[in-house]
Chain length 314, copies 6
């Protein structure tokens, strides 16, 4: 479809209030799903993140990499065992986890972002003791539970103008490394960083009131409702840690959490910079505050200002 100049101008203008709103704020993006494995989607996500950086947002990217770990363990002939959905992680497996997350997945995203310039710095949760963990259950080996977050390295990288990309390996209180759930780390980091938003990229369109009914997509819900869904076991398995992380982030002061379909090209931009938004949004009160139509702000609109962008219209 040909786009005429006016249409373009309207799209840019539509972005204005959202740019104003998000300016100077930190957004944590949990990168995962198909966007992590499909090079074209990865490049689109990378471009979205660079655009967000350039228009004033401070993106922090967090990722795990389960499928790639499994595939690599298979290649090495190592047994892949799960216990209650958690990967039993021997010391040897932990080495593989680190290699895949830090040495492969992380670098692929850093490389995609840096094709646009010197923006991204990859790191592991072990760097600067950013993520500390302890053993969760001895039967699980090096599976860790996060005990502390130290945002010093992240704060420095953000202040220095970089986009941090964090592989979710944790430094252990026993000197070793731990394999930690990337969704939960994203939620913890969002809270510790005082982020405005925490966005989870998945391969589905969002949460469903009834997950067998694809017409029941939930557009917005409250943290309480989200907790109830977990308690009532009404979520697909893979969604539980994501929704728990959303709730954790919100309880820790983050303003909004989003679950988006990362297979939609530029899903991040559409969520952040257009009127419609997409996916499921979880807020403190569940109110769906997206204006049906976001007109160009006229004289007299009281809008958030550059350095005092308290919660306004959005």
């Amino acid at each position: 479809m040909m786009r005429d100049p006016l249409t373009k101008a309207q799209t840019l203008m539509e972005a204005l209030p959202w740019i104003k709103h998000a300016w100077g704020r930190t957004v944590v993006i949990k990168y995962g799903g198909a966007a992590m494995t499909d090079p074209a989607l990865r490049d689109a996500v990378a471009a979205d993140i660079v655009l967000m950086k350039l228009v004033g947002v401070n993106p922090v990217v967090v990722h795990g990499g389960g499928p790639e770990i499994t595939s690599f363990m298979d290649r090495l002939g190592m047994p892949v065992v799960f216990h209650d959905g958690l990967r039993v992680t021997t010391d040897e497996a932990m080495d593989v986890v680190k290699m895949v997350l830090v040495g492969k997945v992380n670098k692929e995203l850093v490389s995609a972002i840096n094709s646009h310039g010197r923006y991204a710095v990859g790191m592991s949760g072990e760097d600067g003791n950013t993520v500390m963990a302890t053993a969760r259950d001895e039967r699980l080996g090096r599976v860790g539970e996060v005990t502390a977050i130290d945002t010093t390295v992240l704060d420095n990288l953000i202040d220095d103008g970089f986009i941090p990309v964090v592989a979710t390996v944790a430094a252990g209180d026993d000197g070793g490394s731990f394999n930690v759930n990337a969704d939960l780390v994203a939620g913890r980091l969002a809270a510790a960083l005082g982020a405005d938003k925490c966005i989870f990229l998945t391969d589905v369109d969002g949460l469903y009131a009834d997950f067998s009914d694809k017409s029941s997509l939930i557009s917005a819900m409250s943290a309480d409702e989200a907790e109830e869904m977990i308690a009532l076991d009404r979520l697909e398995g893979g969604m539980v840690p994501k929704v728990a992380a959303c709730v954790h982030a919100l309880r820790g002061g983050v303003r909004r959490a989003h679950i988006l379909n990362g297979t939609v090209p530029h899903a991040l931009l559409l969520e952040v910079y257009t009127d419609e938004g997409i996916g499921t949004m979880i807020t403190h009160d569940g109110a769906e505050s997206r204006p049906a139509s976001a007109p160009l702000p006229g004289p007299g609109d009281v809008l958030p200002t550059v350095d005092a962008n308290e919660d306004g219209v959005v």
Copy 2:
């Protein structure tokens, strides 16, 4: 026309390389023509300027206000006399010039911009002795010729995060005020500020090879060619100071000068953030370096980086 999400995402993506290019740079905008008198156009220009600010550009706005001065002098029953296209400016007329430019035109634009937040600070060229002038010709009274530019106040306002809006009144070496040509001041300021671009908003589409032939619009030309057009008297009268200012800015280190039709809504955005650009562009060598198609930068493209955005693709 309905815009589907993908189209929107494409428009935003199209803006990415231009945002990257312009990030951190100063752009001087000479505001004038219909955009100055039509409230709807003025609001659109104000929104464009705020958007530019939010996506990393430092806009500096410069304006005169000839028609409003004439109309106000008429209301006061003061004679309006021009000599070689320059307004004969008695001391009493000078008072009116200042009142209209600083007290009316300037404040209307400041007000339109600040309807979006605390962004704009209006000022006169007299503030902080930003523009100094001397008498041009005693028969013209308080018509001044710029003798010096001091960017201290502007530099401070930019560093402090504001959008300066400058009314082109100059402080005189005799302690009085001078009426100075706004186009020329814009060119001088662009050079003194080390601006990347200097954009002139007019009511026509640009320069014409033959100004009686509307099909002869010039898309791009060199500074030498522009000077030749002045020398050969091939420009419409009103264009002469604009083109002279463009040449002055380019000779002073500005990378590009543009003459745009400000009656096109969001002309600024279209010029700065889309592939097509509009109007007439004057560069050092006249090369029309706009890429026919500006694809999403892929891995391996060498692109300007955040803090070293030397002249790249654009």
Copy 3:
């Protein structure tokens, strides 16, 4: 009268404790009356303000311009109507108010100050949304009541070493401009800036216990007494907003308010830097703490120090 060197040295020494006291502090000066219209008085005030700046004070100048507005409206054949002492301000009149205050009165003072160097930056209360207002009474049109003060632009200008000169036009919550009382704005700004003093330049020697008896000049009084005078209607009409502004400033933390006769040359210097002081001073407790004689501080005097100049002797 010839002044011998010793006399000069004594005058400079007399200024020492006052310079020490005022060093690093902000002083808001409400400029008005004859000093605004008489060029020689204006130049004297400008010199006083520059001297204050150079000896460590941060002056902020606030002004209105009623008489000039009236005279200009007369010239334009516009009706001048007052209602309860407030100018009925149509939209058209508001344009004139802005032009006269921002484009004429403001620039005349900026120009007088800047004849000494690059010190002053003129601005309107609309710049950076410094003064926000709402309609006071629909019958009065664009007469506004101040709703909020934002000192960001002022703080930046002060930090950058400039003397801000503020014309009292306010940004309206409806996107328009408002005509606001300059005395009240001065009091509000003094409180918001945490100023040490707020000085009102008038054409009379101060307040009188009985305003028909010129021998009843009040040298010092408390904020409570001042409020009582307003309540008991014991002030000349023009003094009411000034005294109300003094009280507002004091209640907001300003240490002293002064009403001076601006027709006395260098009244500002005499008040700030000599032992006698002049005019009426309003303080929290009304104590007339000016020492009868301010001797050169000798060893052992406990005096305010450079960075901790708490309220001392003065």
Copy 4:
């Protein structure tokens, strides 16, 4: 052996002039050999690096990891082929190189250092485009030749108080990654960072005049002599890139390069903070300026001062 207090005091005092000399300077440490694979040696190196950091040096650690890459490729059943001593690196092998260097070797050292506190931040040469490379020879696949060094990320990490640990993977000009020689990267980084010293940890005691004669260890030599040894093919194969890197560093302004035996516990400390030093030192002129005995500096010694520690005694 029991150490009495006086002996301890003497050892600390012996360190004083060397601490003074090295204070505030950057030292690049090429980590490798047995120190990389033996956990006890790795912990000793980590402690040495932390001590250096605490006593005023800015260490930057650079490492490769050839043997671990080979062993991992073996486990994956991938063919290991060398061509002229360079590993033929297919795309698939490049993935393994990154995983081993960035995800394993790097993290093991970061973890050992951070057992002492939040000091180290691991990174790849791809982060922030720190090391850029191009293909060296198409037959070698992803083996790269360094084309550019950008120290922005390193400078920021050093300024922020961290110890950067750099895995020598390079960002390619084609958007891919390159496998680059760690010795050469260490030399390049030392020059680009304006380092004072560049130290190579190996498994031998240094360079030998005749490498078949272990009594011919060279204590000090000049850059010219080092170049000659390369030219005359008088070095063991593994030493060639190290010596070439030493020469490159010296030619780029580094003051000294050292080749140490990393199997000696605390070899770094002994080289940097004791009188004897160890290993082979290469300097601009080959002078062995280590004083035979470094007495406590007495009054009158002209010693380097805190902020001007130009090359003095050492």
Copy 5:
């Protein structure tokens, strides 16, 4: 005794945890006793202080100089009279006190320190009104009691990288100078500076449970116990002000106070940077927390970090 490299490395490693602990902290050193008069001891103390500075501590040195004052007064034929252990200080004697402390003792130590580089800046308590005092007892003349401490000059010198050396002369509230007890000033300054430690150099090994029994040296005690010893008169006379100063410092937030034998060469280093420590340590709770053996910290030890070195192991 010959020291082999390994022994040296062990000594340096032994210092690591203590260096880590003390890094970035302020230590007040009361210089006195034989170390003040014996040039060799003075040079050793100076070297210790420079080493402490270089390894991250901010030393502040405080000194008196009683014996030298007495000897100088004797040379001048001035009567030396003590009253309750306090020197009766006439105005003339006060001049001598200042000359000896500020002009001789202070400069000798500054000179010894600066033989290592531009580190020390000598000052008197009068400079910048750092120490203010009032008369203690009119019969004692210019003997003062400290009334206020202003650490501005000290803070500035520390921030600027210098080692302040303070002679304990106080500025009087009467414009004159006062002779103040150096031990007490050291304790006051340590508290005001938020120092980590306050160390008193004396000529004895520490405090004795029974000062006639040299085998009863107290290694560690609490502030309460120290106060009790003063109250029960169980201290040698000269120790009373030192112990009182220790208690004052501890009550004011200092973590530890030490009384060391300054005739032991490098006593400061041994106390601060070795496992054994020496002398008597007074802490809040008297716990002797020096670990019997301070092993090299291994992976997993939770140790204080660079910028958050809260009280850990030590």
Copy 6:
């Protein structure tokens, strides 16, 4: 004599251009003569210096103290021997020199200044190795010749807002102290600090064309003329080092040197802040640029501005 307000205002106004001129500049004041020994004159000088500081100048005070040294040596029964006008300074005498200069004269002036607040910090040339010297002639003992100036401590104190007061003792290249000529040190420091002025306080009115003829006072002269007067031996003995220091300062970039009569109360203020000036001024070209009358600057005067106060009117 009674001073009426207008006279006072005129005096303050007269100071305005001089304040503007000197603002932000460094002035070195060589303190000596009667002002050093007479407490009332000392207090007047102290007040002058504080006033200068408050009105924007950075004063640096330098002093010796010959007569007091002699008197103290007499009291100690030490022989006072001069050789070619230079005090033969044994090691013992050097101790006395330091005690008198640093411990007495310096502290008296610091105390007089600090009676006005926390302004002065006394120091010796040995502090921070500010003044380095070597022996001048072995027969003179510890008489030194300045070899180097390091303004680091002075720069820091000035930046921190203090008034440095420097006793002219130098750190020796042999670890000892040296007695150096205060006039010459003042000239050297003025040059090294890039001072605007260097002022010598003496007990005479200035230089005389014929020093036996008190009517031949020289108001202004050039550096060349001053050098010639030294060469031709046309100066009183005590004036030679002062004039030599003036010439050194001027050759080193100082704009003006002054020789004033410090027995005139507030001589400093009269020289710096009034139209007449006093004493002898030495400039590069000898031009007596003091305007006969310094009128209030009117609109249009081109005056030095706050941050660019290049040499203007004065």
